[in-house]
Symmetry: D2
Subunit: 445 residues, 4 copies
């Protein structure tokens, strides 16, 4: 995936001429805050061999996020809209609170609107149902799970949404959403451009699967895999308490097995981890069925952690994916239930070899999506929100705010949706998984 | 359910002539422990009107549990077996640890065996696979969820089990198990009697549903409903974040809705609670479908907590209970999936009236059964275990140890399995449920 | 402590002639709620030997709590005041929420006032600062720790408080408070009586120490000792990680060692438990110093759980209690710091015998008092609140609502403050503590 | 702080000629693991302006950690020692388990020794008391808080420690320790060098304060500040429930205020954060006393989070630091108790202005140090341990393993102890703290 320097330049609505109120505030106290200069940039890749192979001028780099000395929008006359889209993810309310707090306390923006239920809240039918977030009410945004603004999946007509922004006099729209929603935001920017409007759209990427590129870890990811370990523990306890116990936990991860890997590493109960990035077979010497049988005979029970996107080729082959081509409201291809499939295949195989299993299969998806952000994610969400406000007030648009190699940076929307972050089957995360589970022993025959 | 005084007399193998080692231990230090006298008894019913209606001599009362000054078995020559049966329940390992600790530290019993995987571990095939629990190893019994001895459902041949007790020279068998297992233990006692053996069998009742009579609350119950609240919170958050959100949590409770009631009271997210003890209808003015529709229109979303045994008549009527008469390994009738049924009926109804729901249905059974005991249950399990050891060392047999109105007492096995503890639809627990949910408002029309 | 039947009769303001709205509500639906009859009573003591020793007519019994078919106050014209007093305790907000919910949803009372910061909120100076709790706002009373009404220690002038009740037209005052506050409430009732006012005062007893009599367990107690176990674990981990490690945790318990006992039983890290009810010595064969030295030599480290009221005689003897006779704002005698005293004595002794300790002393008081109610206490507080509302609406006054042997009952205020609930040194709780710690081994020499 | 390229070159005992067993294992299965090449390096600084200012050849870079195709030590004949030093920190047992697991499963090292109680365990007196960690016992290293090996503060004689390594035939010593321990390890390496021994010493840096440079975040840091939030919540609840409530929490951070900053950001209860990096005054317009008074008047209560190293100049000025120059066993200067000092100053000031406070001061140090690693730290510790084993087996010595900008890298010991990581008062972390507390408002006058 080669990204060139020009791909990484973010768009700005215009020149920043208005002194940041932040600046005034602090200068009085003779503190010199770390205002970001317009040409502060950090390397996209920090590998010496990559750097040495290019001329300094063409090395891809990213614009640093943070407060600017001068900003584009005049806070007093700026209206900010906030919308949260897609499936639930820990931390959305923390982001919303952080946005409202920064806009209110720091920039003293006078009008903040929350659109209800995702992009649907920007349609003609629902646009009346906005939430007023202005003022000090942010203290009442308790950081529970879920989203106080509601959410919905799927895109809406871009022009209809621009109509709403105009009708509500919105200058800045902050979108909290995933892959699909950021594509939707990109289309919204195009529609804004077509009308020549002076409206900024910035996004804070939300993906519980941690599958967006140029992102250390997506917000809520740590809270999610932390909660996921509870369910691995549960099936491990159930499996170990019964003869021929088999525990299966299906975790989120359509394309990327990060939650499965991290949750399995964080607990000590997982014997096998199956992820979309690493194919596996059922039958044969290296096949899953034989390996599980081997483990049952050796240890009495087995625990399998499987990402929802793993082994889809096997489901396809057995005709389990009837509705090939079907998609959900977010435009994602519908996946077959790999957990249920494995449960059935393992029950049949183990019963056949005289080891009728006591099988426990848990699919805890919504119990994970709905948890509150843990302490780390609470801080992370707050800082992402602060960075997003700085970006928007400085006129950045079609821009997402992420943390890359421990720096908050700006990335153009099209770059963030250009490909997915995936577990590297040759990298050290997957190596650690192989080491920490019983997969290696079996691999070694 | 009338129980007479003679029903409540527990069996004793013989006269207690051996001074308790406990007694020696403490007398040295001039402490006078609260030894229980052989005629210490407490009232079964403490209602004045009941008491006034009977003569003092015939009032049903229960034998108090606790340490006796004299015991039946000579600790030095006593072998104790422990077995855990049936589905997992928080606290089983705490009970096992408490038994081993009391037997080791207090009575200095020299031989303690753990039978593996429930009554199956007492069969000829599996009896070799026992766990030696003798000595100080109790410090290594960490009180996680599950059971270090394993478990299994279902009964085994009583005579084969007696053979094992004889072969292993077991004098006392402590059974940790539910309704079915206590019936099994009763049959085991009968088989022991037929051979004229001097073996005591005592039980600590285990029922995550809290459905055994003469029991304040079964051990693990509080840990279970505490964990259950997490899932009510999850569906409440999911439901409130989506248009026409419907959240359904199915909780344990085949015959008794205690977990559903307590979990719903402990959280503030439940709008409706459905339990086996209170029938409900789907259609009509008071029907569930209309009430949910009403709540969706009024509040935007609804959360339903349903016990697994609720509404089985509705499933039966719609032919969902295909396998009438089918039973599981524990001999329980197979239930239809009321949660899935409600999910389908509500989706159809709400879609039909123009409120297509976003529905989340969670059945967290094994995620609840496998949790560790909370602080309260840890103490409770320890004290139950201590009481069970005292009972067994004093020669009680065919006896269960429970807490009734805050006293640890002895109850004959047949009495404890004679009927079930159920939520009283006219009592104050159910009244509180009606008050604390949105059911009352609807009831009031 | 002999209590006679006449002591247990609760006062009622007058005859109950108004049909309960609850009754109308449910009759429509053909449900027969369990209305309590005026003569429903349960035994105070359920021991057969006690019962057999008295005539039926003189047996002490308690009035059952619950909804009455007829009530004293007309909900439509009733104003209810709520006040929370004394130190924080888990569950106060749950009680407040339960009161508001029951008054609002069930009885449809139109005016509910919260007085701020304990009885101080009823004084002339502070009475303007009340919180309006009327209406559906109870949904916003999130059950965090602390109290939304604030609290204060100490009594206030009874007549001034009556003035406030009159000025605010309060018909019912619900007091959430401990020993001292209930005495204050009793004085308030006397002042109300002197003026011949028709005002009911009911209390829900709050004591984190669980030291009030005729109470199964005070609300918040389970949450408190659950949290306390964290700190025992902490010092146990610190002690076990260092040479000659000594961990000391001081827990609440001025007169009664319940929290120390339960927390020690719930964890497995405590070697010794010191409570006010069981005296101990420092020196000599059985002395604490020698026992700890013995444990250090045998196991390398030791963990001591001490209730704040334990060993005050030792402090007194060494002149550590300088301000004898001093009392705090609640009128309690100031205690010497037994934890600090033990830390110093043990450091000196162990250093003297060549075992210089690494000592960790934690006094987590406020970290425990401020926690939220756990699931069990959440339910318990709700049901206590419901019972208190039923009592007050039925005109009970000078009455506290408690749970005794699993029944919600009414007890006259003077009885509840007549003596304290204490750990019985000869009872089974303390026996279990001796068994579960390393105290027995040392006792046995 | 300028670090040159040559400073960053890590030492290696010799050429790596032995094929990694890992390599064989995986090649069989036709997987190509990501073996690290000897010249894989990443940039120390990724700022474009820094990079552009230097020639490519002189840019400071770090060696990447990970598995090497060829290793230095022959696993079959290698003995590995492990020692944990200094104060407790969440995750030490996870690191130990990860080391044992990787050495056992991956490299099949035959002999692993745990030295007890820090460097003291390497002295002549204590060296006999080692723990055998060989074999599959790692499954029994449950990841609770603390350290199964014990710990101690302070250095020991380097030559005596080398004697122990020789006597125990140790080829690799892995040190889990902080600043002082890594200096000790450096001296140990010098002593090894003087004898010309072929022994590798690698370290995994442990600092709960997160104050070591070139480290994204030290292991256990997230678990620590997560736990710290509980205590901020506690004093916030106490403060808000009482008139003129003042809550103070003193958190770890001798030189660096990271825990204070992160814990304050993660909760919403902190009004002021005081850290060593940002001086403050007590009196005057901007002084702390006046600001707190202002907040009490405005909001009724105030919550202060203070790092233990903050405001030492104030203590010094008031003569509170009597023992200037005193140091603890680890060689750290003894700090004055800033929390106690603030408690006294605030009580005096607020009482003087007619606002006598209800003050709660919590110093939860040991309750934080002793917690178990959370899910994130569990994974992080495991991966750090894996990287340390790879480094040691490849003959690296005088080397620490850290994560820097999301890469596991090798850093020479002298570099890691050359200076401290501190909160940048002009950086975005501190800016976010100012935004998220009530400090800004006061700063703004």
């Amino acid at each position: 995936m080669t990204v060139e320097l020009e791909d990484l330049r973010v768009r700005t609505l215009g020149e920043c001429r208005i002194p940041s109120p932040f600046s005034v505030l602090l200068t009085d106290k003779e503190t010199t805050p770390h205002f970001v200069h317009e040409d502060d940039r950090v390397m996209l890749d920090d590998t010496m061999s990559v750097i040495a192979s290019r001329s300094m001028e063409t090395l891809p780099s990213l614009e640093t996020a943070g407060a600017r000395r001068n900003i584009y929008f005049d806070p007093e006359h700026t209206t900010v809209g906030i919308v949260s889209c897609g499936g639930l993810c820990p931390g959305v309310n923390n982001v919303i609170r952080g946005l409202v707090q920064e806009l209110t306390v720091h920039y003293r923006v006078n009008r903040i609107l929350g659109f209800r239920n995702g992009f649907r809240g920007l349609t003609t039918t629902y646009r009346h149902d906005t939430v007023d977030l202005t003022g000090r009410s942010f203290r009442d945004i308790t950081p529970t799970g879920g989203t106080i603004l509601g959410s919905s999946r799927g895109d809406q007509d871009a022009d209809e949404m621009v109509d709403t922004l105009v009708a509500r006099e919105v200058d800045i729209l902050v979108v909290i959403g995933g892959d699909g929603s950021i594509r939707g935001a990109t289309r919204l920017v195009a529609a804004i451009d077509r009308r020549g409007l002076d409206v900024a759209v910035v996004a804070i990427p939300k993906t519980i699967d941690n599958d967006l590129p140029y992102t250390d870890q997506s917000f809520g990811f740590q809270s999610a895999f932390e909660r996921a370990t509870d369910f691995i523990d549960s099936v491990a306890i159930e499996a170990s308490a019964h003869e021929n116990g088999v525990g299966i936990v299906k975790l989120m991860g359509r394309h990327s097995g990060f939650i499965a890997c991290y949750a399995a590493l964080a607990t000590y109960g997982a014997d096998m981890v199956l992820i979309p990035e690493v194919p596996f077979t059922l039958d044969g010497d290296d096949g899953l069925l034989g390996r599980v049988e081997h483990l049952i005979r050796a240890r009495g029970h087995v625990v399998i952690v499987v990402a929802e996107g793993a082994g889809q080729d096997l489901l396809d082959a057995t005709g389990q994916l009837e509705e090939t081509g079907a998609t959900d409201a977010s435009g994602n291809a519908k996946l077959g239930d790999i957990g249920q499939f494995l449960a059935e295949e393992l029950t049949e195989h183990l019963t056949g070899v005289g080891l009728p299993p006591t099988l426990r299969y848990i699919d805890p998806s919504y119990s994970i999506r709905s948890v509150a952000a843990n302490a780390y994610d609470s801080v992370y969400c707050l800082r992402l929100a602060h960075a997003a406000v700085h970006a928007a007030m400085a006129g950045r648009t079609e821009t997402v705010v992420v943390r890359w190699r421990r720096r908050f940076v700006h990335v153009p929307m099209p770059v963030i949706t250009s490909h997915r972050n995936r577990v590297d089957p040759d990298g050290d995360l997957w190596m650690s998984v192989l080491e920490a589970t019983n997969q290696t022993e079996i691999l070694a025959g």
